[in-house]
Amino acid sequence: MTQVLPLAEAIATHVADGACVALEGFTHLIPFAAGHELIRQGRRELHLVRMTPDLIYDQLIGAGAARKLTFSWGGNPGVGSLHRLRDSVENQWPRAIEIDEHSHAAMAAAYRAGAARLPFGMLRGYIGTDLPRHNQSIKSVRCPYSGEAIATVPAVNPDVTILHAQRADRRGNVAIDGIVGAVREAGLAAAKLLVTVEEIVDELPPAMNNVVLPHFTVTAVSRCPGGAWPSYAHGHYARDNDFYLRWDAIARDRARFTAWIDRHVRGTKDHGAFLASLRQAA
């Protein structure tokens, strides 16, 4: 039975210090509110998994919540660097971070394998690259039929995957429209799946080919309007590209970053108060 919980309670109940956590959503539906709640509750030693760390992991890493990062592209899309990720890798600030680096195709294969509870993902990949020399988890198998070498990566099975979606019904079925990235695979790969949603409705519209995570795959649902901001929720609000541009200057400087996190994340009681504090600052 899917629980319907306030976000703070869902995080407190299901995410422990040291857990392997994947907050997925490829540019669209990034669960920012849930990431902020991890910072607010002071989670430590997390193993963070995400194809594109984006601003949300820049914030978690800069806040000192992460011990390890599994990823495949760590930039601010269309803008430049993730300065907090860079500072942790280049200068070990605020702490050293272990890097488990892949390509997008490999991360997708690792999530697919995880969702199917297979031990590894396969791809025609890692050709002409130095990555396998630096990441010992990248290996290969021989095709038993043709003898061809195929690259492999271990399945990703997070302790908890957290997603944001447009809506769920009261039984916990979760419906997602628009760009879905690898959210379905990341959701099904996890031991527990938490989902924040824009709205909880009595009945979902017929799903047809849209992505639905059925209630028996969902551990808890939390209503959290605006929970993907500054990324977006298609049909509800657009991506705040201006904030992504402005994040560059905030994150570039340690003191300015910390003041931003202290004021807007640690200094607010929940996501509604976080959004209100930004409206005041604007």
Partner: protein, 258 residues
């Protein structure tokens, strides 16, 4: 002929390389500008695929991220990201993949991972993303990069994606590798046999010496160097309109429905 910048020349040069009807795997930035310019000018049936899962997208403004809503709303279909990489890219359905990077060597190998040693980098760059498998499996790769000796180097600090590296033919890569490097001072193409990139096309008013000065290896030339025509008025009009629509859209305030 109207005035134009070197960036505009580079974008127009890249756009002209695309043939109508081709299926292109598009990255953010210059590649996205070039592909959409081509679509808005000579190649209306160009099929643009962004790795976020949008196929056949026809955005009216350039996306800031690879997954802006505009891309989904104007697409023929939106599919899960793992399908893009396995069923489209690895399956060999992409005609042209566009790539850029922080560093490139004479064989078109690319670095977008680190400057300095991997374990103790001076500069940590974003990393591979889709690039490694695009470089391997797109039938052709077009590289778009500004030429400076800092980025066109003798030796990469790290090889993220493969160009014409030794053993490519037996590596399992499905594609032919990089066909061109479009820079702001000319176009480079591989010499037959070695795969080393050499100057093949000049731009109006930019001498070959300037292209050589932008490249950190002794740049050879193809036997005949053609000169590309300057951007036409209609190309410039389409590109500038696209860029001004884009700049306005990216600064538009977002109101949350709360």
């Amino acid at each position: 002929m109207s005035e134009y910048s070197r960036d505009e020349m580079m974008t127009v040069a890249a756009a002209r390389l695309l043939k109508d009807g081709q299926v292109c795997f598009v990255g953010i930035g210059l590649p996205s500008a070039a592909c959409n310019l081509a679509r808005l000018t000579h190649a209306p049936e160009l099929v643009l695929i962004y790795e976020s899962g949008t196929i056949g997208t026809r955005p009216t403004v350039l996306p800031l991220s690879i997954g802006d809503g505009e891309l989904a709303e104007t697409a023929t279909c939106v599919i899960p990201l793992p399908d893009i990489f396995s069923d489209y890219l690895q399956a060999g359905r992409i005609d042209v993949g566009f790539l850029g990077a922080a560093q490139i060597d004479r064989f078109g190998n690319l670095n977008s991972t680190v400057i300095g040693p991997y374990d103790k980098p001076r500069t940590r760059l974003p990393g591979a993303g889709g690039a490694t498998e695009i470089a391997a499996h797109a039938k052709q790769v077009f590289i778009v990069m500004k030429a400076t000796p800092r980025s066109f180097v003798e030796k990469l600090d790290f090889q993220t994606s493969g160009g014409h590296f030794a053993g490519r033919a037996r590596s399992g890569a499905r594609g032919q590798g990089p066909a061109v490097i479009v820079t702001d001072v000319g176009i480079l193409e591989p010499l037959p046999g070695s795969g080393e990139f050499a100057l093949s096309v000049s731009y109006p008013g930019i001498p070959a010496e300037e292209a050589r000065a932008g490249v950190g290896w002794p740049l050879a030339s193809l036997p005949v160097i053609k000169t590309l025509a300057a951007p036409t008025a209609s190309e410039l009009r389409a590109l500038r309109a696209l860029e001004s629509r884009t700049a306005a859209a990216h600064r538009e305030p977002v109101r949350l429905p709360l």
